[in-house]
Point group: C2
Chain length 487, copies 2
C-alpha cells in the first residue's frame, strides 16, 4: 500500500475541497510517508548505484536485449498506482539493468568513474529543483556559476574575464559559439534572419565534433556550408577530438583568424581538462587568444552529467544581446536588487539547471592540485596502456596517443600471419564488433569501437577515472584476447 | 581531513604509477571514504532539502543580497581541497540559502511542490550518470522514454502513435517543432541553408512563449518573421499561456492549418497537464489533430526539473532525418542489436539525460487517476482563490482564470478611493514590486508579478502542488494585505 498516494486521495475529494466546511488534506502524514519512501530509496541508491556499481568484482552491465528487458520490467503505466514495495523494486531493477558508468572497467565514452562530491551536488540540485533564470530563484547557484566560470577563465588565460553559461551538453555550447559569431558578424540577423546575407561559411576540421554540423543545420546555414563557401565567419578548432584525442594547433589558427577577423571557437569539451595540468596544458597553447571555448567538466574532470560550460571572452554583453527576449514575467527591470545577477536571458533555454554546482563542489573539496593529479594520472595510465599494446602480440596502435584516447586493433591469431591486404582489413573490420558483442553479454567491461576514414573498426579505449588501476588496463587487454582469440 | 582525497593522492604518484614495481592506489579505502561522505550528505539532503524545505513553518527563502551571500559563502576555489566537514557545511549552506520550491507557499513559477517519486528518480539518474545516445549505454532508460512517450501520445489522441524525445526544457522542445516544420517544408535546407528560400514566417499569438522568438533568432529566420511575412510554414498555438494561463482554440486553428498545409505545433508546456483530467481536457480540444506538441511534465505534473517532452505525430522518421549526423563512434550500423533503439541521432544534443524516468516513476507509483486528482485539485484551488479575491476588499482579478494562473491586483487602502485614472494605474504599478521585496525579505512566501500590455504590475499566483491547502491560499491574501497595507 502506498501511503503517500492513499493520503493524498483519501483526505479530500475535489468537491469536498470546495466546500468551506471541510478541511484540507493531511499534509503532515503525507510528508512522513514521502520522507520514509525517499529514505528507503536513498539506501537502495547507496547500496546498488554507489557501492555495488563501482565494485570491480561486479559486472559493468547486465546485458538484455530490448525484448528481454521489456519482459523483465513492467513498463506499462496504469490508471492506479503501484505499491511502495513494487516501486522500490522498480528502482532496484532500473539500477541493475543500467550500465555502470562508474565501474572501473567502463571505458566506452568520454566520461567514466564516480566522483562522490559531484554526485552529492547533483542530488542537492535535484532536491532543490530550481532554475537559473533569476537571482531571486537561484541566489546560491547564480553566484556559484559565476565563481566557477571565472576560475575556468583564469585557467584559459583570459586575465580580464569574459562571460559564459553552463549548458545541457557540449553540443549546445558549440552551438552558442556559432550563434554568437553570427551575431557579431551582423547583429541584424537576429531580427531579419539570414535570407539577405551572403552564404556564410563555418570552418572546422574533418575531425571536429558532429555538433558543428548539427548547429549548421539548426541555425539555417546548412551542413554543406561547414567546409567550403563564400564568407567564412566562424572557425572551430578542436582540443581533443572524439575518436583520436587529437589537438588542433590553436596558436597557428589564431594567427590566421586574427588577421581575417574571424571568430575562433575552441571545442575543448573533451581536451579542456588538460588546462588544470602544468604538464599537459601545452596541448591547448594559445587558447587565451580565442573568442569562445566549450568545456565539458563532465568528461575528463568527472562531474556528473551534464556539466558543460560555454565561455566567451567578449565583455560587451554579446551573450545577453544575442539571446535576450526580455520576458516581462521573469526579467522585470523594477526589481529591488541588481538585475545583472539575473542570467536567464543570456540563454536560449528558459529554465536552465544549476549544473555549475556539480563541479564547484568537487573543486572546492579536492582543490586544483588534486584535479591536476587526476588528469596527470589518467594520461599516464593511457601512456602505460599504449606501451603494453606495443609489447603484446596481436595488438596494434592506430596512432600514438596525444591524450587519453588509446586507439588500437586486436588481431586474432587466425589473422596474424596474413599479408597486409584489403582482404585482411575487411576481416579485421568484423573483429571489434564481434568482441564488443561478447563483452556486453559477459558484462566484464565496456569499450567503444568505430571505423575511421578507410581504417577498419578499432577499439577506442578512454582512460579517465582515478579509480582505474594498471591492473584494470592489463585486464582489458587479457580479456579482449580471451574474448576474441577464436575469431 | 578529507580521506577520499588523501588516499587518492597519498598512495601513488604519477611517476610511481609508471614504475611497474609499484602498486595501484587503494581503491577500496577510497570507496569507503566516498560512501561515508555520500551517506552523510544524503542525511543532510533528507533533513534540510526534504523535511525542512517542505515544512510550512519554515521560510520559503532566506533572502540575502548578492554581496551578503558572497560573504556568507566561501566561493573561492583553491589549489588545495577543503575538509569533509567544511564541504558538508557548504552543502547545508547551499540548501539553506536556496529558494525552497517544494514549500507549500512557493507560487512564483510554473513549477512547485515536492514529488517524492520524481525526486528519487532524479537521484537515480544522477547516480547512474548515463546518456541516451544508444541502447547499449542506456537500455532501461531508452525503453522507459519510449513507454512514457507512447502513453503521452495516447492522452493526446494520436491513436497510431508518432515519435518524440525528452529535451532540456520546453524552449528546446518548441525549437524542435520549428526545425521539423522547416525541414518538412524543404528538406534541402538542412544541407544548403535557408539563403535561397523565400522569407519564411512563423505564426503565434502575442501571448505565445518567448521561446518561439528565441527559436526564430537561433534558427536564422529572425524574430521579425515570427508575426508577419511572406510564406507561413509554422503555426504555434499555446495551451496555457505563461502569464494568464489562456488556451488558444486548437480545433479552429487546425481547420486553417489543414487547409493551407501549415505545420501546427501546440506549446502545451504548461497546459498539457490538463490532458490527464476528464474534467479539464476540453481546454485542449483538437490536440490530436496537430503535428507536434511540447509538454513539460515538470510543470503542472510536478516532475523534477527538467522533464520536457517533444512529441511529433509524423511516422516517417522526420525527427531522425531532420537531425541525424550519423557519428560513427556512437551509431555503428554493424551492432549486434536492433539499432532503431539508438535514439541519440534524433536529438540536436549529443549527450542527453534520461529525464523520462523522472516522470515514469511518478506515473508508475501513483497511476493516472491520482495524476487526474492532482490536476483537478490544483484547478479547484485556483478557483477557490479567485472566489476569495472577488470577496475581499482591496483585491481585484485581472481576468477570470481559465487554468491554474490567478492574476490579480492588490490595492492598498491609500489607493482604494481614488478614481480610475492613469494616475491610479501608475501608483498601482509600484505596489506589486514593493510587496514582492518585503515578501522576499521576510521569506514568508513567493509569488511572481509582472506588467502585461498596458496593465500595470499584478501578481500571478500559480497553484500546482497538492501539498497546498486552502489555508495556504488564505494566508497568501492575508499576508499580501499585511505586507502592503501601508503603501
Amino acid at each position: 500500500m502506498n501511503l503517500y498516494v492513499i493520503n493524498f486521495k483519501g483526505q479530500t475529494t475535489v468537491e469536498e475541497l470546495m466546500n468551506p466546511e471541510k478541511g484540507s488534506p493531511g499534509a503532515a502524514e503525507d510528508m512522513e510517508a514521502a520522507e520514509s519512501f525517499i529514505q528507503q530509496a536513498m539506501e537502495i541508491i547507496l547500496q546498488e548505484a554507489v557501492k555495488k556499481a563501482t565494485n570491480v568484482k561486479e559486472k559493468v552491465c547486465e546485458w538484455r536485449s530490448p525484448e528481454q528487458l521489456k519482459e523483465l520490467l513492467d513498463l506499462e503505466l496504469k490508471d492506479t498506482g503501484e505499491s511502495e514495495s513494487k516501486i522500490l523494486q522498480c528502482c532496484r531493477d532500473t539500477i541493475r539493468y543500467s550500465v555502470k558508468t562508474g565501474h572501473p572497467r567502463f571505458f566506452n565514452q568520454l566520461f567514466a568513474g564516480m566522483e562522490p562530491h559531484s554526485m552529492v551536488a547533483s542530488f542537492i540540485t535535484e532536491a532543490i529543483k530550481t532554475s537559473l533564470y533569476t537571482y531571486e530563484m537561484a541566489p546560491v547557484f547564480t553566484l556559484i556559476e559565476d565563481a566557477l566560470l571565472k576560475t575556468m577563465m583564469k585557467l584559459i588565460g583570459w586575465e580580464e574575464g569574459g562571460d559564459g553559461l553552463f549548458n545541457p551538453g557540449g553540443s549546445m555550447s558549440n552551438m552558442y559559439a556559432v550563434n554568437l559569431a553570427r551575431y557579431r558578424y551582423c547583429p541584424d540577423f537576429k531580427e531579419i534572419g539570414i535570407y539577405a546575407s551572403p552564404r556564410l561559411v563555418m570552418l572546422t576540421s574533418q575531425e571536429g565534433h558532429y555538433s558543428l554540423a548539427k548547429a549548421a543545420a539548426l541555425l539555417g546555414f546548412g551542413t554543406k556550408n561547414v567546409y567550403v563557401g563564400a564568407v567564412p565567419f566562424f572557425v572551430n578548432a578542436t582540443a581533443g577530438t572524439t575518436v583520436l584525442g587529437a589537438f588542433d594547433p590553436i596558436d597557428e589558427i589564431a594567427d590566421i583568424c586574427e588577421k581575417h577577423n574571424l571568430w575562433l571557437h575552441v571545442d575543448a569539451c573533451w581536451g579542456g581538462g588538460a588546462l588544470v595540468s602544468k604538464k599537459h596544458r601545452h596541448l591547448l597553447k594559445g587558447i587565451q587568444r580565442v573568442n569562445s571555448v566549450a568545456w565539458n567538466l563532465h568528461k575528463m574532470l568527472m562531474a556528473t552529467l551534464q556539466c558543460s560550460a560555454f565561455l566567451v571572452r567578449d565583455k560587451s554583453c554579446l551573450l545577453q544581446r544575442c539571446h535576450c527576449a526580455g520576458a516581462s514575467y521573469l526579467f522585470q527591470q523594477d526589481k529591488f536588487y541588481d538585475v545583472s545577477y539575473d542570467t536567464g536571458d543570456k540563454s536560449v533555454q528558459c529554465s536552465r539547471k544549476p549544473d555549475a554546482f556539480k563541479f564547484w563542489l568537487v573543486w572546492k573539496a579536492v582543490g586544483t592540485r588534486e584535479l591536476e593529479y587526476r588528469v596527470d594520472r589518467a594520461l599516464a595510465l593511457a601512456r602505460y596502456l599504449a606501451q603494453e599494446i606495443k609489447k603484446r602480440e596481436g595488438f596494434r596502435l592506430v596512432i600514438e596517443p596525444e591524450f587519453a584516447n588509446v586507439c588500437f586493433w586486436y588481431i586474432p591469431p587466425s589473422l596474424r600471419n596474413l599479408p597486409e591486404s584489403p582482404e585482411l582489413w575487411k576481416k579485421l573490420h568484423t573483429v571489434a564488433p564481434a568482441v564488443k558483442e561478447r563483452m556486453m553479454k559477459s558484462g566484464s567491461m565496456m569499450i567503444g569501437y568505430q571505423k575511421h576514414g578507410v581504417k577498419p573498426n578499432f577499439f577506442r579505449m578512454v582512460v579517465i577515472s582515478p579509480q582505474v588501476s594498471r591492473q584494470d588496463l592489463d585486464f582489458v587487454l587479457d580479456e579482449i584476447h580471451s574474448l576474441g582469440k577464436d575469431l
